[in-house]
Assembly symmetry: C2
Homo-oligomer: 446 residues x 2
């Protein structure tokens, strides 16, 4: 069956989360969780849905970027794309004029992610499998053919990558059964948004503890006294038998990160996440070297620009936990290369999630990792935040603090029709009503 | 005098340079030299003009980004901005929702550059000085107050930066006189665009040699046989008493770069520019370590995302020449921080130029560097390409292969009215005529 891509529709979808301080951290004090939402249309009626996560203002820029890139996809034969996916991926990211405004970073790479995610969703729908199962069923050679190895061959070659996958084929069926039964362990960030009151934090810790969670993350970095009080408060509820991670969202300079974190040693954080600029590989090395002796690891990745930056973080031993993001680097093709480098250099991947659709997507990737590459969940956990799931046709399903494997075809990225009607920006129903109700608030929201 | 910013106008300006292969290199085979052009309007009639360079497609995305950011500038008091410019710069680059789609990289940072460049142009026009003179006349404390030191304090602090400037105050007047008399040395890239024929390359080498140029740059990286032939051809004309630099525009992987350049050793290139991904600090270290024993330096910077990436390139001794760009990182404020780090870590700055307006801008910065910071032009040279200068009201002026200091107020970034009328995209006169003449060509151009 020849499937031709006939059109790409791009939408600006925003949720007014800043009204409740959901998602607030040291650098992003008032996010409106949003996304650029791409629908790939075909001549056979079947469609693919993909997105990239944004924080409100600026979504319109990513929408423009998706529209500007769409000429590279329209008119293409979908089967050709999937058969030579690595080559197609390079065509998108190396367009001779567009690459100047990246390259492979920022807006243009977020747009690449949205489009590539929609293509994987389309592929999985054609194959009538969830993405994790599609990935799992590809041969090592097929899987590797989706990856562009440009700029990473000094750390991993195509041949090495194929070998890594072949070496871990044994026991695939058994691991798939384990996964279907137990799911994949999650941790929660819901307890510690910076804008939440102490009582709300306490209440949420108790709630998630009761739900079976054993790992909790709190935001830090705006005020040391507050951080100490909040860490104490969380430890009081969750005890020391559970894990606590902390996240500074890039607020610190290098030496500041080291000094600040030394004040939090007694709370035994498993990791400090995003202590400084996501671009500072050497800075992370310095921080990691200072904190490792105290049992604190360094984690980053949600704003890591691309595989070249991940390569260096892994090469330089700058991180103890590799936090891939499903919507910032250029989609599954590039993320797979990060998983492979992390495996080779022996760093566990603990995906970033929580933003619109991120939980929905990363679960697929981490499940593939368990079945086909790392074969274990030890020292690995997927972030979970209980926000915006209700907008998806088939949202994540958490049971005993574990992500249960999706059963429907696709990448779990299709919004309900109501969501599109209500939260399209600026003309969705909810936004229009908000304008009416409170025009003073509007300035803050948009 | 209170000057209020009343509006920001943003234009998409494109020149059809792909028709003549001007500007073509290994990665950018058909650029249409373009820019996003910002005009800052005030209540006093005085205006500021700034731009960021682009390659054609994608300019519309940067235009959207400038428009999205303009709310941060409109209504501001210009004097307040310039008095607390470092703080204002952070306000632009750390906007709590917009920063997600960078941060400080790609489209959003190109837009920052365009706006910040326009603000410096405005400031210099208010002071009735060219930007290089405005910079030179600021006290060390004033100059440093324009810089945001976030993420770089592990390499240079505000206090160290002030001291560096104070230590080099002596002889300022004398150096200004030397500059006014002799100008600042330039090198030419006009001789070696990848799309040019051998005879055109030869002819251009002879032409620029006759004009007094002593440093020449050629593009390499698409085909080794071609590179060897072209390097030989250039050396045949310019001899070995002049300098030859080569530029791969990111085409290679790490080991490939090393092997390829080893085939070009006999042509004694001063530097290999952009051998690989601009993001790969550790990769550049490896390449530099392999090539330095052969007398070949490593240069990069035109696509370096921000001061954090420059910091690491300098810290890790990844580069022998630091190529700041006036339109990619966030304007003069951030570029000054790179000059200061390069000075401290003893790496010469040789600015990237050649794109629309880049020569016009970087001359100001390098002249300030000579007068106030490095006090010497030794081992330093500014790129020069003879393209698109005629579109500026006061273009660069080259004499004896040197940039002569601009005398008019501003940053030399104001287009003529004809240029705006003719090359606005897609509705300028020249573009409309091109549509008419050759609709088949249009697909290639736009």
């Amino acid at each position: 069956m020849e499937i031709l891509i006939t059109d790409i529709d791009v939408k600006d979808i925003r949720f007014p989360t800043s009204l409740l301080a959901d998602g607030s951290d040291a650098m992003h004090t008032d996010p409106d969780y949003s996304c650029t939402y791409v629908t790939i249309k075909t001549n056979k009626g079947i469609e693919g849905y993909g997105l990239t996560f944004t924080l409100g203002r600026g979504t319109e820029i990513v929408v423009q970027a998706c529209k500007s890139m769409s000429y590279l996809v329209k008119g293409e034969n979908a089967n050709n794309i999937f058969t030579h996916f690595g080559i197609f991926w390079r065509k998108l990211t190396s367009e001779s004029q567009l690459r100047w405004i990246g390259p492979e970073k920022g807006v243009i790479h977020l747009a690449t992610a949205a489009i590539i995610n929609a293509l994987w969703d389309l592929w999985a729908r054609i194959e009538k499998k969830p993405v994790w199962k599609l990935l799992t069923d590809l041969t090592p050679e097929q899987l590797i053919s989706t990856i562009d190895f440009r700029y990473i061959t000094d750390v991993i070659t195509k041949e090495e990558a194929i070998k890594l996958l072949k070496d871990n084929q044994k026991g695939k069926e058994e691991r798939e059964m384990i996964l279907r039964k137990n799911g994949y362990p999650a941790y929660t960030t819901q307890v510690g948004w910076l804008g939440y009151s102490d009582s709300k934090v306490k209440e949420l810790c108790a709630k998630y503890l009761a739900l079976g969670f054993t790992s909790f993350k709190a935001k830090v970095g705006q005020n040391l006294t507050d951080d100490i009080r909040r860490c104490q408060l969380i430890r009081d509820v969750i005890g020391y038998e559970n894990k606590l991670m902390v996240d500074a969202n890039q607020i610190w300079d290098i030496n500041e990160a080291i000094e600040w974190m030394k004040q939090l040693i007694k709370f035994k954080p498993t990791w400090i996440e995003e202590p400084t600029s996501p671009d500072d590989v050497l800075g992370h090395v310095k921080i990691a070297n200072e904190l490792r002796p105290h049992g604190i690891g360094v984690a980053t990745g949600e704003m890591c620009a691309n595989r070249v930056m991940f390569k260096q973080l892994l090469q330089a031993k700058a991180i103890d936990y590799c936090q891939i993001d499903s919507a910032r680097i250029g989609g599954i093709n590039e993320i797979l290369s990060v998983y492979l480098m992390a495996k080779k250099l022996n760093v566990p991947v603990c995906p970033h999630a929580g933003g619109v659709g991120l939980c929905e997507m990363v679960q697929h990737l981490q499940m593939w990792d368990f079945i086909c590459l790392n074969t274990s969940t030890e020292n690995r956990v997927i972030e979970y935040v209980d926000q915006q799931h209700e907008h998806f046709e088939y949202p994540v399903y958490i049971q005993n603090a574990c992500y249960m494997p999706p059963t429907r075809p696709g990448y779990s990225t299709k919004f309900t029709e109501d969501t599109i009607k209500n939260y399209s920006y600026p003309n969705g129903e909810k936004w229009k009503n908000m304008y009416k109700k409170d025009s003073s608030n509007l300035i803050q929201i948009i």
